[in-house]
């Protein structure tokens, strides 16, 4: 099922489907999940979960030297009626239920934040306007935590918009009640100096649907862990992502879908375009189908489009199946490049060079941008991508 096309030199597109009695995803990690940063050794860089990440660019988030200095980020939340927005302390019992930190930086965030934002959508409330959470970097170091909880049969769209400059480690929990529907768009539109690391945990209730669209455009280093688990049967998760990795940027997305419950679905589609020297995108897609998860239906795909020389992609889909009683399971990964021959072909049909590049990138991302469903945000992201395209070619 894995395919690799025109893989540029220096890139890897690996894939595996393992049929195992026990998952190796957990045993590959250097420590079991924990809320306490002390349970994780300081990484040296050769660990499976850190081997693609330039630790020296984490600005101390991984070794305890990054100290929050109050000037990290400003969070502003705009919510329509029917939504409760609270700022709570560390001891709030609702926090940390959707998932446990799986690496040292996520645990550092959990051990270090002082206040958390809790956004609650009442049972059966169907919002017609999105909840907008603006996280603006003010240049300092910050640790954060957010919880977004939907009551049974509630429906909401949440946009988390990251801009400015910061060194930020923050986790987000999404808890979906039975039959709830949540769409989350997390935009990483950081300045090119920002560092952002975080774990997003979704816990999906019975027959609930979760759709996440992760859009990473900025930052010096962005490393996110979108993770999904199911609280009961019938849940559905769609994980979409797009990234535009520029010169010198490191953008890493590490997905995990834990099919721990029967009759749930998941579909992951991540696409990235890369351009410029030292652009590095990493995509890890771990999907576990546990022995109990009969009737699972899952598919995951990662595609990368390399626009110039000097960019590197590491794409590793990994599917582990512990039961054969499933509806479907598959994965695909492909890295293609946009090269001079392609440019020549388009130009030979009358299309000017700049438009040719735009055509290729726009077309490549179209299906994902459409998933957002918010015209103002879609337009902003397309414009941003086109500006970046012009900037460094």
């Amino acid at each position: 099922m894995a395919e690799a096309q025109n893989t540029p030199a220096g890139s890897t597109t690996a894939g595996s489907i393992a049929v195992a009695a026990e998952s190796t995803v957990a045993t590959r990690m250097s420590a079991p999940p924990s809320f306490d940063v002390a349970d994780f050794p300081v990484p040296h860089g050769r660990e499976e979960e850190w081997r693609f990440t330039p630790l020296e660019r984490l600005r101390g988030l991984h070794d305890g030297t990054a100290v929050a200095n109050g000037g990290g980020v400003k969070v502003a939340i705009e919510a329509p009626e029917g939504v409760t927005v609270e700022t709570v302390g560390r001891d709030d019992s609702r926090l940390g239920k959707a998932g446990t930190p799986v690496d040292r930086v996520a645990a550092q965030a959990y051990s270090s934040f002082e206040q958390a934002s809790v956004v609650t959508v009442a049972k059966e409330a169907v919002l017609t306007e999105p909840i907008r959470i603006a996280v603006h970097g003010e240049g300092g170091v910050a640790y954060g935590h957010q919880l977004i909880e939907l009551g049974a049969f509630a429906e909401a769209v949440v946009v988390i918009d990251h801009t400015g400059d910061a060194v930020l480690a923050a986790n987000v929990d999404y808890v979906l009640g039975d039959g709830a529907k949540l769409t989350v768009v997390s935009v990483q539109d950081w300045d090119d100096t920002a560092v952002h690391v975080g774990q997003h945990n979704a816990l999906i209730g019975r027959d609930a649907s979760f759709k996440s669209i992760v859009v990473t455009l900025g930052g010096d280093l962005v490393r996110l862990h979108p993770r999904v688990a199911y609280a009961a049967t019938g849940g559905e998760a769609e994980l979409f992502g797009l990234y535009f990795t520029d010169k010198g940027q490191h953008q890493e997305h590490r997905l995990l879908v834990d099919h721990n419950t029967p009759h749930c679905k998941s579909n992951a589609v991540y696409k990235g375009a890369l351009q410029g020297d030292g652009a590095h995108a990493v995509w890890i897609g771990d999907v576990l189908i546990q022995a109990a998860a009969e009737g699972t239906d899952t598919y995951e795909m990662n595609r990368n489009l390399v626009l110039t020389d000097g960019a590197r992609v590491d794409s590793v889909p990994n599917l582990e199946i512990e039961t054969g009683e499933i509806v479907g399971a598959g994965h695909a990964s492909a890295t293609g490049r946009f090269d001079d021959e392609q440019l020549f072909y388009l130009q030979s049909r009358g299309i000017p060079a700049e438009e040719a590049r735009r055509l290729v990138v726009r077309g490549f991302f179209a299906e994902l941008v459409q998933q957002i469903g918010l015209p103002d945000l879609e337009a902003r992201l397309i414009e941003k991508i086109e500006t970046e395209l012009k900037a460094s070619v």
Partner: protein, 263 residues
């Protein structure tokens, strides 16, 4: 009437740190409404001629001129040449990830025509042209050339030819890799464009097979980077029977020895 004039064209390519001259003085005039067949052995420089006309960056023109209606083609960028009315159906069309055929065709038609075609008539035009080439409408939603078979790629090239209606069309081995049925279908597409009388066609081929369906007005033998002989359709029959040997043996053929096979 549109005229493409190629005069004493010399072209080199960089290969293995050495500069290699491939075209060694090509002279050819193609007028709107005419069909010229260029036939020659492998490696004689036919594709190099086609790419050089289209402006491929790998080929360096070291001498000679190319004009289209008196305008200097060699001064134009690749896309300018296309907008001026040159079209190249490629021997090996390129796959473009991320761009659907329908999006590509529309962007291209917009660039060539100078304005976006009206959506309703455009969709119909594309559908009908695809049907004429026996292309499944599903191709419109696939990425350009991605996963196309050899024959499907060639149909897609001719689809573009029909939609873009150039003044001068260079078809580089459009016949290779096609079975007889596909060859017929593709030739019909080329003939639809020719019937307008508004296109000059330069048909590059290795075999005479396609000339049964697309009748040339002139046949040129290409050998060692230049035109070694020119004649009418009967020259193709002669090549069919005797091969290219007479033109390739005995070192470089002297310029302008028209009818060299008899020598």
């Amino acid at each position: 009437m549109a005229t493409l004039e190629i005069r004493d064209l010399h072209v080199t390519v960089e290969a293995d740190n050495a500069t290699k001259e491939i075209l060694k003085g090509v002279d050819l005039t193609v007028k709107q409404g005419e069909t010229h067949a260029i036939m020659g052995p492998n490696g004689s420089g036919k594709s190099t001629l086609a790419y050089s006309l289209a402006g491929h960056p790998k080929y360096t023109v070291t001498g000679g001129t190319v004009t289209l209606d008196g305008e200097d083609v060699l001064e134009m960028s690749v896309d300018e040449r296309a907008r001026a009315g040159l079209f190249l159906a490629m021997q090996y069309p390129v796959e473009i990830p991320g761009v659907s055929v329908s999006n590509f065709l529309r962007t291209s038609a917009t660039a060539i025509r100078g304005e976006a075609p009206k959506l309703r008539t455009w969709v119909k035009e594309v559908k009908e042209t695809m049907a004429g080439l026996q292309m499944d409408p599903a191709f419109a939603e696939r990425n350009v050339n991605e996963g196309f078979s050899g024959g499907e790629k060639k149909r897609h090239e001719i689809l573009q030819l029909e939609l873009l209606k150039p003044k001068i069309a260079v078809l580089d081995e459009t016949d290779s890799g096609l079975d007889v049925d596909a060859l017929k279908t593709v030739s019909e597409g080329v003939n639809r464009v020719r019937e307008s009388g508004e296109v000059g066609t330069l048909l590059i081929t290795h075999y005479t097979r396609i000339l049964k369906y697309i009748k040339p007005d002139f046949v040129h033998v290409f050998a060692n980077g230049r035109i070694a002989a020119s004649g009418g359709a009967e020259l193709a029959d002669q090549l069919e029977n005797e091969g290219y040997e007479a033109y390739t043996k005995g070192g470089p053929v002297s310029g302008g020895n028209s009818g060299g096979a008899a020598a």
